[in-house]
């Protein structure tokens, strides 16, 4: 399955899919609510992750947010640029501020852009 359409989770993460590789980040809404991101902890490349479990932390001056793995799979790449300069996540959450790439076997049900917009406008 291949789709370039950006999907979302209720945990305020986004996913784009290329083949069996999912790129995962946090939404602009989440980045805005967190405020200035100061520290990011991500799993190591090669780590197996289980969907729905906490695999990282995103710390801002206001709170510590948790990064959930939206899919089962294996981490193949982490965004070391974001670890080195966490402000990237505020500046470009949907682009350069991506966090991890995961090779997955199956995608769960995800929200589309309209559904996510409805969720955050509640």
């Amino acid at each position: 399955m291949t789709t370039n359409e950006r999907k979302y989770t209720p945990d305020h993460e986004w996913i784009t899919v290329d083949g069996d590789i999912a790129t995962i980040g946090i939404t602009a809404y989440a980045a805005d609510r967190l405020g200035d991101v100061v520290f990011i902890e991500l799993p190591e490349a090669g780590a197996d992750v289980a969907g729905g479990t906490v695999v990282g932390e995103i710390e801002s001056t206001k709170s510590v947010g948790e990064l959930f793995a939206p899919v089962d799979g294996t981490v193949i790449e982490v965004n070391t640029a974001a670890i080195d300069e966490p402000a990237i996540v505020n500046r470009d959450p949907l682009g350069d501020g991506w966090l991890i790439r995961v090779r997955f076997t199956a995608l769960p049900d995800l929200l589309d852009a309209d559904q996510y917009a409805a969720l955050v406008s509640r």
């Binding site: 200035d36 100061v38 520290f39 902890e41 710390e59 801002s60 001056t61 510590v64 402000a87």
Partner: protein, 1041 residues
């Protein structure tokens, strides 16, 4: 007293002290009542406090066990009499507590200086730069001596620091094991604490022996210097001593490690005094995936290789012997330091360096979002506070002595221990270990008790290890220099000849040379690395310089000696001078926590009286003063509830209901008590949703352990339904924990125990006047009904397990006794739970503060204080309601002792944030109220009873003026006096002024400031910069160029 009698006793007729403690006089009271719309204070409180919980008529006037109010002079005389019943002896017990000499310049300018002791936790960093710098000194000192990268701003004591290190290791270790390995030679009180805390969270403890060196390698004596070393002196390296390749661990440690462990903990030096090289143990631990932890004596680390150099991941301990009196157990600053990579796992407070709006270096608390109140049930520690005042003292002790001075103190202590060991050895006694720093264990088969008794005859307290063993610990006081007078007393006690050198020779070279062949510090643990090289530790050698440095720092800070600190939920009331008077008396200060009961009769009486009074005013039966902070009181109370359920077949009861409006620490404490948090919804007013509570109680009926509820609520409102809430929990077999954080709104009008509480913690540093100390010390007593007493904190070294018992039913019937000296007629009950603090009575040396407060206020005074606090909060709410909506109110539109000002509409209409208003208040000469708690975008204001109407009016004037400034700024961009706040002197005189507001408006927005301005030393501090560029030690002097 009843309300009727209160009506006939207006404020002016109160005792002499109460009318000074309460800032609102009769005229002010009339003004405030008129604004609020009530005729009398009693009518106001009657309208605010729900009738269902009021104590009106619960007992007759005079039935309280509280004695009538004493005058300040009388209270001091009574404290003097109590102090005289304590006996200051030469303390050689050791076990982590040592007599010390507080430099007089530090005692006078820090411990006895309200600029330091009345400050709050430095949440507003711009007005806290002085103590933040002092804490950076402390952190730098700890890092240097332990050889680790990052130290926090202090822990509550050594025992709890070890517990926190254990919890840190569990979350940082990749080992799946649930086992924590504990040095058999750890301090016994630390072992007891670990047992209590590990059991609650399901950690298995395994004791092991650190392998002893087979022989003492190399000549061992650390040379004593008879001349004062230069501050910059580097200790001479000892060649070939650091074992770079750790020896493989054999025997028991390898066996236990084979079964897995997440952490290994070594006491360095051990409780017995033995100094063992832990490097091999640490290497083995790390290869097994465990974290390596050392509890290290800081003074010894001036001579011994640091834990970091031995490979430790974490070092913990106490800084007590750095100039902080023993105080019968506390308060003192513990410490916790970690290697690089673990800094974000640190519990407690961490001071770091950031920059202000102009790019100047500025200090602040780092990583605050990791604290328990933000993370709630996801928190990994419930530690909220530090021991700031004591950490400041310990750090300043290092500033005062410098590296050379500290090393010289350590050398004197070590040399005295060597001389004593040689003396005992020469007399044919067996010195248990040849390797020690300051503590020597001597075998006297069957004769230990008589030796200790003979020492007692000479006024010396030794440690009775067992029937055959006595331990002798030297310190700065017993080993002040080459002449060690106590050796004569020791010779008498042990029945051996005194070494001639012991009492006479100033050089003592012979004794050292003799001792050097058999005893001392193993060569492979002699320190060769530098420490305390920063300029601050090498500059202030003269007292003039030291005094001015302390003044320079104090001048940067805003404390209660400058003005009001209206922090909601913090109760920043007066810390009266008379209350503070006795804490430095030697009879309270120089007492070892494990001294014989006969030495501390005065303390035990004072403690029993305070326990009795606190139980009486809260409606409970018994009180433990052991917890060193509110968070520790919460933990003790919840552990008591778990203990009670376990003892009554309710081991499955582990669910703790916590309202969503609760302080985050409640949830963190519940998790650390091994409970599962279930959140109960609150309505839009912040009150517990009774329907949701009933549903949650029903859903978890079989597993319900407790409900934690704060009363009045964290929203500053007296909830109506609290009785029904308590009843619902009790009917399902649960216990009710009433968080006493807001007791200042209740005292004298209602009692937790009367409306359903089974257990509460109180905050003596709020309601009962112990000063905040800039972020500690605190005392968080736990008060409970009698059925929980067997599970309240006990202690293996408690002078007595028995505590005062005043059955709450009896307190309403008996007439009690009015004599403080004789004490009320009470019985006793044993507290049988595990300890939550290192010392049996927590921090006794500051208990005279609360004792004096209650003694001088009496029941009438305490009631009047509550009424005044409620009146003042309602007055502020009434006066500011037009400028800022008051978010929550209870009956008749009234608040309790604090009010929440809602800034969200202002932010929406003008863009001005809570932060802007808080920082602008600095320009007006105020400490901001509590920001964004319990509701984001709000300010919570608590004036307390101590502020007079003049100061309250000044605050109201400032808030109204700021509202006008905000309105004027609306739509005008971000260049306005609010966003620019706070303004330093430099900011308004340097360079061009190109802002749309004037310099005068920037710094003198009201004319009263012209003659009495507090100038902030820095502009607004960049929070994100500091967290992104974490730096937590003293910056080099060039940074300020």
């Amino acid at each position: 007293m009843t309300r009727e009698s209160a009506a006939s006793a207006p404020a002016r007729d109160l005792g002499a002290f109460a009318s000074r403690h309460i800032g609102i006089d009769r005229d002010a009271e009339a003004t405030m009542l008129a604004a609020v719309g009530y005729d009398t204070v009693e009518a106001l409180v009657a309208a605010a406090v729900p009738a269902s919980i009021a104590v009106d008529g619960f007992r007759e006037p005079g039935s309280s066990v509280l004695p009538p109010a004493a005058t300040e002079r009388e209270a001091i005389l009574e404290l003097r009499a109590l102090a005289d019943r304590n006996c200051v002896r030469t303390s050689m017990i050791g076990l982590g507590y040592y007599d010390t000499i507080t430099p007089a310049v530090i005692q006078r300018n820090v411990l006895e200086n309200p600029s330091w002791y009345t400050a709050y936790t430095p949440y507003q960093p711009e007005i806290s730069q002085g103590r933040l710098e002092a804490l950076l000194n402390f952190q730098t000192m700890v890092c240097d001596l332990t050889g680790l990268a990052t130290a926090n701003a202090s822990m509550l004591d050594e025992g709890t620091a070890v517990v926190e290190a254990m919890l840190l290791a569990r979350r940082a270790s990749k080992s799946p094991s649930n086992r924590f390995l504990v040095d058999a030679d750890a301090l016994p009180q630390t072992k007891a604490l670990l047992e209590n805390r590990a059991a609650a969270v399901g950690i298995e403890l395994v004791e092991f022996e650190v392998p002893e060196p087979t022989t003492v390698p190399e000549p061992t004596t650390v040379p004593e210097r008879t001349t004062v070393p230069e501050p910059s002196m580097v200790p001479e390296p000892v060649e070939g001593t650091l074992s770079t390749v750790p020896e493989p661990v054999e025997g028991t440690l390898a066996d236990v490690l084979a079964d897995g462990a997440f952490g290994v903990f070594v006491q360095y030096p051990g409780a017995s005094g033995r100094v063992r090289n832990p490097a091999a143990v640490f290497a083995a631990a790390k290869s097994a995936g465990a974290l390596a932890i050392a509890a290290a004596d800081l003074l010894s680390l001036t001579l011994l290789t640091s834990p970091g150099e031995h490979g430790a991941d974490i070092a913990v301990g106490t800084t007590q012997r750095f100039g902080v009196p023993m105080g019968f157990g506390g308060p003192h600053a513990g410490y916790l330091a970690v290697r690089a990579g673990l800094e974000r796992q640190l519990p407690g407070r961490l001071v770091g360096v950031s920059q202000d709006a102009t790019g100047h270096p500025a200090y602040r608390l780092s990583l605050q979002t990791r604290e328990q109140h933000i993370r709630r049930e996801k928190a990994t520690s419930n530690i909220c506070t530090a021991q700031v005042l004591l950490a400041v003292m310990a750090g300043m002790y290092a500033v005062y002595h410098g590296p050379g001075g500290l090393r010289r103190i350590a050398q004197h202590v070590h040399a005295a221990a060597l001389r004593f060991a040689a003396m005992a050895d020469a007399a044919g006694l067996q010195v248990v270990s040849p390797s020690f720093f300051d503590t020597v264990e001597v075998r006297v088969p069957g004769g230990a008790a008589p030796v200790v008794a003979r020492a007692g005859e000479r006024g010396v307290n030794l440690r009775l290890v067992d029937a055959d063993t006595v331990s002798v610990a030297f310190d700065e006081v017993t080993a002040p220099g080459p002449r060690v007078a106590v050796l004569d007393d020791l010779a008498h006690a042990f029945g051996i000849p005194a070494a001639p050198a012991g009492t006479q020779s100033p050089a003592a070279d012979d004794a050292d040379a003799d001792a050097g062949s058999r005893f001392g510090v193993p060569a492979d643990v002699v320190r060769t690395s530098d420490y305390l090289t920063h300029a601050v530790f090498n500059t202030h050698r003269s007292e003039t310089s030291m005094m001015r440095y302390l003044k320079h720092l104090a001048d940067k800070d805003y404390a209660l000696d400058r003005g009001m600190i209206p922090l909601g939920s913090c109760t920043m009331k007066l810390n009266a001078a008379t209350e503070m008077e006795s804490i430095t008396w030697p009879e309270f200060a120089r007492i070892h926590p494990f001294a014989p009961a006969a030495d501390v009769a005065g303390y035990l009486t004072l403690i029993a009286q305070l326990e009795t009074w606190l139980a009486d005013v809260t409606g409970y039966d018994t009180v433990s003063l052991q917890p060193n902070a509110g968070s520790q009181g919460e933990l003790a109370g919840l552990l008591a509830i778990r203990g009670y359920h376990d003892a009554n077949g309710g081991s499955a009861r582990t669910v703790c209901l916590i309202p969503s409006s609760a302080h985050g620490t409640n949830a963190a404490s519940a998790v650390l008590a091994g409970m599962r948090v279930v959140v109960v919804a609150c309505d839009e007013l912040g009150n517990v949703d009774l329907a949701d509570l009933r549903a949650k109680v029903a859903e978890h009926a079989d597993t319900l352990a407790a409900l934690m509820i704060t009363y009045p609520s964290t929203h500053g409102v007296y909830e109506h339904e609290v009785r029904a809430i308590c009843d619902a929990v009790h009917e399902a077999g649960g216990q009710v924990y009433v968080d006493g954080a807001n007791l200042n709104a209740l005292l004298g009008f209602a009692r937790f125990g009367d409306f359903g509480g089974d257990v509460s913690h109180l905050n003596l540093h709020k309601t009962f006047c112990i000063p905040h100390g800039g972020g500690g010390p605190g005392v968080g007593p736990v008060a409970a009904k009698a059925h929980l007493a067997p599970h309240l904190p006990g202690h293996p070294f408690a002078q007595s397990a028995d505590h005062a018992l005043i059955p709450s039913s009896a307190s309403s019937a008996s007439s009690g006794s009015a004599s403080a000296d004789a004490g009320p007629v009470v019985s006793t009950i044993a507290h049988g739970g595990g300890p939550v603090s290192a010392a049996p009575y927590g921090s006794p040396s500051i208990l005279p503060i609360s004792w004096a407060y209650v003694r001088m206020m009496g029941e009438e005074g305490l009631t009047a204080a509550t009424a005044a606090a409620v009146l003042s909060a309602n007055y502020i709410a009434a006066r500011l309601r037009d400028s800022y909506p008051v978010l929550y109110a209870g009956d008749n539109g009234l608040v309790a002792h604090e009010c929440i000002l809602d800034l969200r509409p202002l932010t929406a209409s003008t863009g001005v944030t809570v932060d802007d208003v808080a920082k602008r208040l600095i320009d007006y000469g105020f400490h901001a109220p509590t920001m964004s708690f319990p509701v984001p975008g709000t300010l919570m204001v608590e004036p307390t009873e101590s502020e007079d109407i003049g100061e309250v009016e000044r605050f109201i004037e400032a808030m109204i003026a700021i509202r006008a400034e905000a309105d004027a700024a609306a739509g005008g961009g971000t260049d306005n006096p609010l966003r620019g706040a706070p303004h330093t002197a430099e900011s308004v005189i340097a360079g061009e002024w190109d802002h749309p507001y004037t310099r005068e408006q920037a710094v003198y927005p009201v004319t009263s400031l012209v003659r009495g301005k507090y100038w902030p030393p820095v502009r607004r501090i960049d929070q994100a910069y500091g967290d992104r560029n974490l730096f937590c030690a003293c910056p080099p002097p060039e940074a300020f160029a």
